[in-house]
């Protein structure tokens, strides 16, 4: 058994964290720390890059290197860090606002280039920190503070987007499915090339209150009931599919990452500056 504790990756002196009761962000933070501990990566070999939002606060609680960027730009900063020093393990922690709404352009191009980064996208279907406005993942007809009668736009499917753009590893899970969450984080971090782990996460305060229930327990039950395995989802009727979402791994391939291709084509070797 590994004696490397997840506590080595957290700044517990900054707890209690700012997140609301029952917010899934803390569960993902815990799973992230366990994943890093089990992988045995030294905190100084890891850079956690964030943007803005409730989940954007996560870098305050990690004991790895941290880079807190502007809204939607976490992947742009992460790309720079990785290419500047390719020996580092670079992980971008983003919400749906950061990743595919304000930062949507960075997201598709990071996946297309297949940069060796891991994107952990907490999708709670709205902008929690600024008061529960709709984002690009808010489902059609869902209620938010800026769509009180229901959202007139359909939401992005983040995993399909990453797959179409060319990511090497694409998976979805939830904080209820916490063992798979930890394992998918480990797989994504180990994968060379662009990895996306989408975590459908409860926001009891806003999305939950308007569309599910404000109780943390009800939001966890919602995840338990709505999430089905990829294989089960594929055999569902279209009507049933609308009521559920698939969890598991959608893509796991080994297309050469950007850095490998760049060195090959330019016949150069860049180990990075220190």
């Amino acid at each position: 058994m590994s004696t490397n504790s997840y506590k080595n990756y957290l700044k517990e002196e900054h707890f209690p964290h700012i997140w609301c009761p029952g917010c899934g962000d803390g569960i993902v933070l815990h799973a992230y720390a366990i994943a890093l501990a089990e992988l045995g990566l030294a905190p100084k070999e890891v850079v956690t890059v964030t943007g803005i939002g409730c989940w954007g606060k996560s870098d305050d609680y990690v004991a790895t290197h941290a880079l807190h960027g502007t809204h939607g730009r976490a992947l742009a900063y992460a790309t720079g860090v990785k290419l500047g020093n390719p020996v580092l393990t670079v992980i971008a922690l983003m919400g749906d606002g950061d990743a595919v709404t304000i930062g949507g352009n960075h997201f598709i191009h990071a996946a297309r280039r297949n940069i060796d980064l891991t994107a952990v996208v907490i999708n709670n279907f709205n902008y929690g920190m600024t008061g529960g406005q709709y984002s690009a993942t808010t489902p059609l007809k869902s209620k938010t503070t800026t769509s009180p009668l229901g959202n007139a736009e359909p939401g992005f499917d983040i995993c399909s987007l990453a797959e179409a753009a060319g990511a090497n590893f694409v998976a979805r899970t939830t904080p209820f499915h916490v063992v798979s969450l930890k394992n998918l984080l480990k797989e994504g971090i180990q994968k060379k090339g662009f990895s996306l782990i989408e975590v459908i996460t409860p926001c009891p305060t806003y999305f939950g209150r308007y569309n599910i229930n404000s109780s943390p327990v009800a939001n966890m039950h919602w995840l338990k009931d709505k999430a089905v395995s990829v294989s089960r989802y594929q055999h569902m009727t279209d009507e049933d599919k609308l009521q559920h979402f698939a969890i598991g791994t959608f893509v796991n391939k080994d297309r050469p990452d950007f850095y490998t291709m760049y060195q090959q084509i330019n016949d150069c070797k860049w180990e990075g500056g220190r």
Partner: protein, 68 residues
């Protein structure tokens, strides 16, 4: 699993935000939710050390220790 090991389950009252997730989802009903929302460890001897309460606690308030 490790049914005969002794387990100490502690809840940090300074971290717990009384969300109720631990009491609701523990398969062995180890916790009782008090009227004020705080979970209380009532039957630790039933714990199967699945760690799910610990990992699902949004506030990282639960610690499980195996006392051998």
């Amino acid at each position: 699993m490790k049914a005969k090991e002794k387990i100490r389950i502690s809840i940090d009252e300074n971290l717990c935000k009384r969300c109720g997730i631990c009491s609701e989802f523990c398969s062995e009903k180890v916790f009782l939710e008090l009227d004020n929302g705080m979970p209380q460890v009532t039957v630790p001897e039933n714990c199967i050390v699945c760690h799910l309460c610990d990992w699902r606690c949004p506030d990282l308030a639960i610690t499980l220790e195996v006392i051998s």
